[in-house]
Amino acid sequence: MASHGITDQIALVGMGCTRFVEHWDMGLDDLIVRAATDAYESAGIDKAAVDAYWFGTAQGGMSGITLARPLQLQNKPVTRVENYCATGSDALRQACYAVASGAYDVAMAVGAEKTKDSGYQGLNAVPVPNDGTGRTLTAAAMFSMVGPAYGEKFGVSDSDMRTAMAHVAEKNHANGAKNPLAQFRREVSAETICASPKVAGDLGVFDCAGVADGAAAAIICRAEDAHLYTDNPLYVKALSLVAGNGSGLTDQSYDYTTFPEIAACAVDAYEQAGVGDPSARIAMAEVHDCFTITELVLMEDLGFSERGTAWREVLDGRFDLDGDLPINTDGGLKSFGHPVGASGLRMIYEAWLQLRGEAGPDRQVDSITAERNLALTHNLGGYPGEMVSFISILGSTLD
């Protein structure tokens, strides 16, 4: 068994990201064209220079043709990728491995999703014909079981849990308010968050990520070629993916206070990147805040906080924009909404801006130092007990 990683073999040299909003006037094709065009420009190349494409969309369309047609790619290999909410991230991962293998010189990962054409609330998976015995709950309901279990296990009162979860939303909305690409650009008070109508269990409307349309794209090449395209590339330090076996749903020992797939994914990612103490090396992170409680527990599964302490560190402001370890500096899923195929690449885009010092004076974090110079992005797809986890670690220098 081995997970060798491709540390410092691959560089990101161009990126594009649309606004994530309810794009009533844009279809999937429009979103793809916008993000891809911005990425080509960012890398200073023509699309003919890209040898191969990986296209992440959960439900935007089938096959690589869904990307090749709107971009009018001429006889290029395009692979459509789907891996729940890690779809866009996994598109990047596969593109990186393809270039690292030597098969291609330049590749592009595109993630796009048009969610708002369904007319429904929330995100909706296209059902596979089945025997009708599966769970029919919303993601909110599944994640709503985590907070009470966490509070019970670690002796955190309901009101402390409620306040900590509210702070996650308050922080991410404050970050999003500063970000022109975000959907929701208003600060929201903890009081409003706590008082919002309940969706499932104790999760209110403001504990849940929104829904949006959007697209993002990244162009990659071998690390040694990076300076052909840009003076300040990002280097891939780790790409880790774990697809859970669903055992948490039926395992009597699973207690809903942690996401084991993510903990395992983090171990692999840190090993690939040679990161010992994540808090000493990671300067900022974009994590999958589908619900406020999710982000809180992720701080522990990603190794940023000791077990049972994340709620306190959240309240202490450690993960705020000006905190020791800023989390979801762009506003996260909370402010952006979640176009499934695009979100992973949107997170990478924020790491791209922050590590290159391009986030702007309002938003640029000051936690990045010579020793502590890595960014982490994390996606999860699925539910407690049954999820996919993706982690990337990126840096602006070669080790």
Partner: protein, 475 residues
């Protein structure tokens, strides 16, 4: 006494199921401006139908009894399917033998009694299941007087492992063609002619049927300790009971349960048996397009069988919890509630359902013999990924469990939102996230005990999606 020329044949097991909810009839007139009355009626939940209630009654009939059913007969005036047999779903959920037959009895209120008479005159062991959900227009007599119930009566020969508890000693039928109650197939509501006409028509038929059955049984009217009369209305049934002159007329449960359609005679039969003692001669008289009488003699074996049966009809009638009239109307599809802005479920795949028949209908999981790990749904590969196709079937429908955690989903699609949902750990292994039924939000708590019940999750494209839910064990 001379030796018997034929095997002793009669009832070897029975079970009844009254749904959890009760409608207070006094609520009806406040909304409808008419109708209602005194007492309550039973109300099947939104996720129940005649098939699921027959399954629940059947499970109780088979509970603890060493009965091998050769034939299943199922009667309902309003079954889930036409053209397709409904009894097969009951057969599958009860995990009856593949070599047993399962047949529907037809759509009239006479169907359950027909099944009992067929079973009495036949051979082998037959389960006669009957269930109905009774509806009527808002404010109508049918709405208030109707009730919902499921029943299962097992008839077979007297053998050591399943002795006859009530010997069928005489039967007699009278048939007449006249317009009493009727309904056009596909229409939701039944109609009724002037019930005085029904009463005068049934009266002589009842007397003839009853007396003929007593003659066949070799007993006289004074020998009958109790008679149960199942009729289209409580008034007609009561009037005819008076004419028959039995020592005692069984309470017809009209003030607590209501008239349960095809299930009514079988429900009263179960109530009759539960109210009787060894040696009693009792009679069931059913008024439906004629009159059928069954005379039974209670055997000593009924005493020993009592403690392995499910709850009695009387105990069920005395329990339950209220449902408001508005929700009752919504559950019956008579008041349309705005659904969540979420996709409705898709129809069940016939092929996928056929492959998972044991799990979907029988709630049969698998267990890994080398570790004892229970896989729900059943799995081919062991939980640790090491062994393939070494699992064995592990029936879980009778397993009890404990709520580990739970939530209320206010957004997910449900025919009756919100969904109460719990993670359940089963005694002896196995965990499954399950929808809870028959409970209010504030009743659920971590550590609560639950049991499994067969339900209809939803219906799409005319296909009811049957599967199991958990319900609070209410002792």
């Amino acid at each position: 006494m001379l030796g018997r020329l034929r095997a002793v044949r009669g009832i070897t097991a029975w079970g009844s199921y009254l749904p959890f909810r009760r409608l207070d009839r006094a609520e009806i007139a406040a909304v409808a401006g008419k109708g209602g009355g005194r007492g309550t009626r039973t109300v099947a939940s939104f996720d129940e139908d005649p098939t699921t209630m027959a399954v629940e009654a059947g499970r109780r009939a088979l509970g603890g009894a060493s009965v091998v059913v050769d034939t299943l007969l199922f009667g309902s005036v309003n079954p889930a399917y036409a053209d397709k047999t409904n009894a097969t779903a009951v057969h599958s959920a009860l995990r009856l033998s593949d070599s047993s037959g399962a047949f529907d009895l037809g759509f009239s209120t006479r169907s359950a009694v027909a099944g009992l008479l067929l079973a009495a005159s036949g051979t082998g062991t037959t389960m006669v299941a009957a269930a109905d959900i009774r509806v009527g227009r808002a404010g109508s007599a049918d709405e208030a007087a109707g009730g919902d119930a499921g029943t299962a009566i097992v008839i077979g020969n007297d053998v050591a492992e399943s002795p006859v508890l009530a010997e069928i000693v005489g039967t007699a039928s009278r048939t007449a063609e006249f317009i009493d109650r009727w309904r056009t197939p596909g229409e939701p509501f039944s109609k009724m002619w002037d019930d005085k006409f029904a009463q005068v028509t049934y009266t002589p038929l009842a007397v003839e049927s009853y007396d003929s059955a007593l003659v066949a049984a070799g007993v006289g009217r004074p020998d009958v300790s109790s008679v149960a009369v199942s009729g289209p209305t409580a008034r007609i049934a009561g009037a005819i009971a008076n004419v028959l002159g039995a020592a005692k007329t069984l309470d017809d449960l009209s003030s607590s349960v209501g008239q349960c359609g095809a299930a009514q005679p079988a429900l009263l039969l179960a109530h009759l048996l539960e109210s009787s003692s060894p040696g009693d001669v009792v009679a069931l008289v059913s008024l439906a397009d004629g009159v059928d009488t069954i005379v039974l003699r209670i055997t000593d074996a009924i005493v020993a069988a009592a403690d392995r049966r499910g709850p009695t009809v009387a105990a069920q009638a005395a329990s339950g919890a209220p449902v408001r009239y508005g929700k009752f109307l919504a559950w019956r599809g008579l008041l349309e509630i705005d659904p969540p802005r979420r996709p409705e479920p898709q129809r069940v795949s016939a092929t996928a359902a056929a492959r998972s028949d044991a799990w979907k209908f029988g709630f049969v999981a698998s267990v890994d013999p080398s570790t004892g790990d229970v896989a729900m749904p059943p799995a081919r590969v062991s939980n640790d990924g090491e062994r393939v196709d070494e699992m064995v079937e592990h029936p879980m429908s009778d397993a009890a469990g404990t709520i580990v955690t739970f939530t209320i989903d206010r957004v997910a699609y449900s025919p009756s939102p919100p969904i109460v949902f719990a993670v359940v750990d089963f005694d002896g292994g196995g965990r499954l996230p399950l929808e809870l039924c028959d409970c209010d939000e504030d009743e659920v708590e971590i550590g609560a005990r639950v049991e499994m019940t067969f339900r209809r999750l939803y219906t799409v494209d005319g296909i009811p999606n049957y599967f199991w839910k958990a319900r609070l064990a209410r002792g």
